[in-house]
């Protein structure tokens, strides 16, 4: 919720007769004071912070948000540099019993810190800018994917990355796909082909509205599914077409998640402007927006309205869904999955719910849905954070913290009988693979196997 409509009492809109006295002059920018006032210091947020649990140098979300806000009312107070240690997992948001907009406060403070206190020529700033703007570099990498993968995989490259930029040499860079999702989509015939396929599927399903425009979605694929794991994006396309949806793939930029996390709010604003414009147009065309990456949907739904005020931001937030959640609400997904099976391709999974899915109330969803498929069980590996938090765990100075946070998840994965991992978040999947060596799958790929058939059959489509 934007500050403009933050009610005086957290989240409950009563009658509007009571006007609190304006004690402070009208703030020029976002005024987060109501949020700070709602904090009664119960410290529930602090007990949920994965960073504070492994590093006492981090003062925790209660300080980073409301306490720092109050301190800053004295003009000579700078933002404390510990704000850069926050991993932006946002677990404090769904913890707070008083609806204090903690992550919004952290994002704002981090933006101010980077803007006003960070040396723009420092290695840290340049490195963060590169990590945050993966979307700008990825197209270069995917022009010559095999060469890029070869060079990025060299230990010399990793060594240089650590020495020169402070990007940890412990991790393997994700490989670029030899064909991006958008290239595949264009080759396949784009929206027009999808329209035909959807109509055919509707006819086959006996939907009354074969020619209707009712079932239309705009797919926000984000960067990773486009450049690195197009199989996830293709799975979404096939699953949705199976249910008779025609798919549009609007022009889009990065969702902004890595930019918020690095305090690069101007970069995020530019990306958000593009995304809101394009998605709003798709919504006007009768589409609902779905995302396959939990951080992308989180960003469109929560951070955009919290941080930006473009025309249509609220509209996009209200009409954006997680891809599985959408099918669950609009179709009888579980009924459709009853008595399906996935052959030998998939077995049981060790499932990790990403923090950003958890914050959208989606933590139980995957295990619920997959339970309907014969021969597949998704075992939840607990509620700990994976520790990588996007770009956070890629920074040399955070690598150890990141692995300490992830230790609990690794242990639970090892204890689980399943030998394959499952999650909806790209960087969580990197961390899961890095910590255990398991292959990691996306939920949509399992749904595709159950509903559309195995991968070879799907490739033929």
């Amino acid at each position: 919720m934007s500050d403009a409509e933050q009610p005086t009492d957290d989240g409950v809109s009563g009658d509007d007769e009571f006007e609190p006295i304006q004690v402070f002059p009208e703030a020029e920018e976002m005024d987060l004071r109501p949020g700070a006032d709602n904090c009664y210091k119960c410290s529930t947020c602090d007990t949920n912070c994965p960073v504070a649990e492994v590093d006492d140098e981090f003062p925790g979300p209660k300080f980073q948000g409301p306490e720092q806000w109050r301190l800053k009312r004295q003009d000579d107070q700078d933002v404390d540099d510990s704000v850069m240690k926050c991993s932006n997992c946002m677990r404090c948001d769904s913890a707070c019993p008083s609806d204090v907009p903690l992550s919004q406060m952290h994002n704002t403070a981090r933006g101010e810190y980077v803007e006003e206190q960070m040396e723009k020529l420092s290695r840290e700033y340049i490195r963060n800018r590169i990590l945050a703007n993966y979307r700008r570099l990825a197209p270069l990498g995917s022009m010559f994917p095999r060469t890029t993968n070869f060079v990025m995989g060299l230990s010399a490259t990793q060594w240089l990355g650590e020495k020169v930029l402070g990007i940890t040499g412990e991790r393997d860079f994700p490989e670029f796909a030899t064909e991006t999702f958008r290239e595949w989509w264009t080759k396949r015939g784009g929206n027009a082909t999808s329209k035909k396929r959807a109509q055919k599927a509707r006819a086959k399903r006996g939907d009354a509205q074969v020619r209707s425009d009712e079932k239309r979605i705009a797919y926000f694929h984000g960067c990773y599914a486009n450049y690195n794991t197009p199989e996830v994006a293709k799975a979404l396309v096939r699953v949705y077409e199976h249910f008779g949806y025609e798919i549009m793939v609007p022009d889009q930029h990065c969702s902004g998640t890595p930019m918020f996390a690095n305090g690069m709010l101007e970069d995020a604003r530019r990306s958000a402007e593009t995304n809101v414009r394009e998605l709003r147009a798709a919504i006007a065309d009768g589409a609902d927006v779905v995302a396959s990456c939990s951080s992308c949907s989180m960003s469109l739904r929560q951070e955009y309205p919290e941080l930006f005020d473009f025309e249509g931001t609220e509209d996009v937030a209200e009409n954006t869904w997680d891809a599985v959640e959408y099918l669950r609400v609009h179709e009888d997904l579980e009924g459709e999955l009853e008595d399906t099976s996935v052959g030998d391709e998939f077995d049981d999974f060790a499932y990790h719910a990403p923090c950003h899915a958890r914050n959208q109330g989606l933590d139980g969803q995957t295990t619920d849905v997959l339970a309907a498929i014969d021969g597949v069980d998704a075992h939840d590996v607990g509620d700990s954070c994976s520790g990588i938090s996007g770009t956070y765990g890629w920074k040399a100075e955070n690598y150890e913290t990141s692995m300490k946070i992830g230790a609990e998840m690794f242990d639970h994965m090892e204890e689980s009988e399943a030998k394959t991992g499952l999650t909806e978040c790209p960087t969580c999947s990197m961390q899961m693979e890095h910590g255990t060596g398991y292959e990691i799958t996306h939920t949509l790929e399992v749904l595709e196997a159950a509903l559309v058939g195995d991968a070879t059959e799907a490739t033929a489509q």
Partner: protein, 438 residues
């Protein structure tokens, strides 16, 4: 389409979790929807039934003897004392070795971080060696960086209550924690994982582990006490192992003293309940509020109460319909925000159930902070089936029951009855909801 279940429980604290577990014993599909984390993180982790009567008499030796005399409308009077016993037995089954006290009807006396003594029916095993009825002398250990527990003060308080033993308190540095504002989860994590820590001791080779260093620090202060009490930060996931390890190294019993918020024993209780929910196949949706409801007009008779058809869960503006046959409201009280107030009124925000209160807000409280506060009893009146009642004592809805602190007619803080009421009413509401499924 809506997300469909047989029983939908709104709220995920003790009452909500117990309701869901009780319902799941029948062959029905149960789901919990909870918005924010429950107030269990502010809870001591003790399971009280009744420590004091509403008139303030106590501490009560036997809570069950006092149940029959409770006034009409008190949640215990609504469900009856047999249900309280059944609910406790149900809890004992779930808690297993994690809780003690089921061997007797009598209240146990558990020392708190303020050095007071709390009458309670069940207590975490981690506090068992600390009971005030035990006549063995005790050493209480506090930490410089954890001002919530002032051990010497707590020890003198404890002695002043007339406890049958000598208590002594010392304050030491917690090995491995330097900062004044380290979170309790950091203390617990250090001990859980027995991380290597830096100590001030220059002479020793290598770094000791957290448990080793803590035991060494305490050993030098231990005289002939037979037990040592620490603030309740001795581990989270592996609390039993941490305690056993420290007891081994010190050669005496080790216990925890329950603390104020945020409380690890409360968090452990939450974990215990949620593991049971998972094992029982209860589906859990967290982080999203229920914002409105729709009634089923076809079902409403001209005279009877309305029937809730579906509730709407809000997800950042997207409306997710959830349908169930039976609903349980377990959203907490004034602190848990299941009961809200504005300057002119007190209300229940989801179903707008009737909350009796004086029209003039100056009658909601009395000046004496520890006096008999009317607001402490604010909540929903219910019938014996735990269905919320409207202003003329008719059920608000045919398929809605309420449990826990959202109920009115009792002051859990004064009576020491919070967890017991949540357990008993949660248990009854959950069971009746499952029985009511078509």
């Amino acid at each position: 389409m809506a997300i469909e279940d047989d029983v939908l429980v709104i709220g995920g604290g003790i009452a909500g979790a117990t309701a869901a577990l009780a319902a799941a014993e029948r062959d029905v599909q149960v789901r919990i929807v909870s918005y924010k984390q429950s107030t269990l993180r502010n809870a001591s982790g003790l399971i009280d039934v009744l420590g004091y009567t509403p008139a303030g008499d106590g501490p009560l030796a036997d809570p069950f003897e006092a149940l029959a005399a409770l006034p009409e409308g008190h949640p215990y009077e609504r469900v009856g004392s047999e249900a309280v016993r059944e609910a406790l037995a149900f809890f004992d089954e779930i808690a297993g070795d994690a809780y003690q006290g089921s061997h007797t009807d009598a209240n146990a006396l558990v020392p708190t971080h303020g050095g007071t003594v709390k009458p309670t029916a069940r207590y975490p095993t981690s506090t068992a060696a600390g009971l005030a009825s035990d006549d063995r002398d005790a050493l209480l250990v506090g930490f410089e960086t954890l001002p919530d527990f002032e051990a010497p003060l707590a020890a003198s308080h404890l002695e002043a209550t007339g406890a049958p033993f000598a208590a002594r308190g010392v304050t030491v540095r917690f090995p491995g924690i330097v900062r004044d504002d380290a979170k309790i989860t950091r203390y617990a994590h250090l001990l859980d994982h027995d991380e290597a820590v830096e100590t001030a001791d220059e002479t020793r080779a290598g770094e000791p582990t957290a448990r080793e260093a803590l035991a060494e620090t305490v050993r030098s202060h231990l005289a002939d006490e037979a037990r040592v009490g620490f603030p309740a930060i001795l581990g989270d996931d592996r609390a039993d192992a941490v305690r056993a390890d420290l007891a081994d190294r010190l050669g005496v019993d080790v216990f925890e003293v329950p603390m104020g918020p945020p409380s690890l024993p409360g968090m452990r209780l939450e974990d215990l309940l949620y593991e049971a929910l998972e094992a029982a196949g209860v589906r859990v949706t967290t982080g999203v509020p229920v914002v409105e409801y729709e009634t089923d007009d076809a079902e409403a008779s001209a005279t009877g109460p309305e029937r809730i058809d579906r509730v709407i869960v809000d997800r950042n503006g997207a409306e997710i319909p959830h349908r169930a046959d039976q609903y349980v409201l377990a959203t907490g009280g004034l602190v848990g925000k299941g009961v809200r107030s504005e300057r002119e009124r007190v209300f229940e925000p989801i179903f707008d159930c009737h909350v009796p209160h004086a029209a003039d807000r100056y009658d909601w409280f009395v000046d004496d902070v520890f006096g008999d506060q009317p607001y402490a009893r604010f909540g929903l009146p219910v019938d014996r089936d735990l269905r919320p009642l409207d202003a003329v004592d008719d059920p608000e809805f045919s398929n809605l029951r309420a449990a826990g602190a959202v109920l009115g007619g009792y002051d859990f803080a004064a009576e020491k009855s919070g967890s017991g009421v949540s357990l008993a009413t949660g248990y009854v509401a959950g069971r009746r909801a499952a029985e009511g499924c078509r």
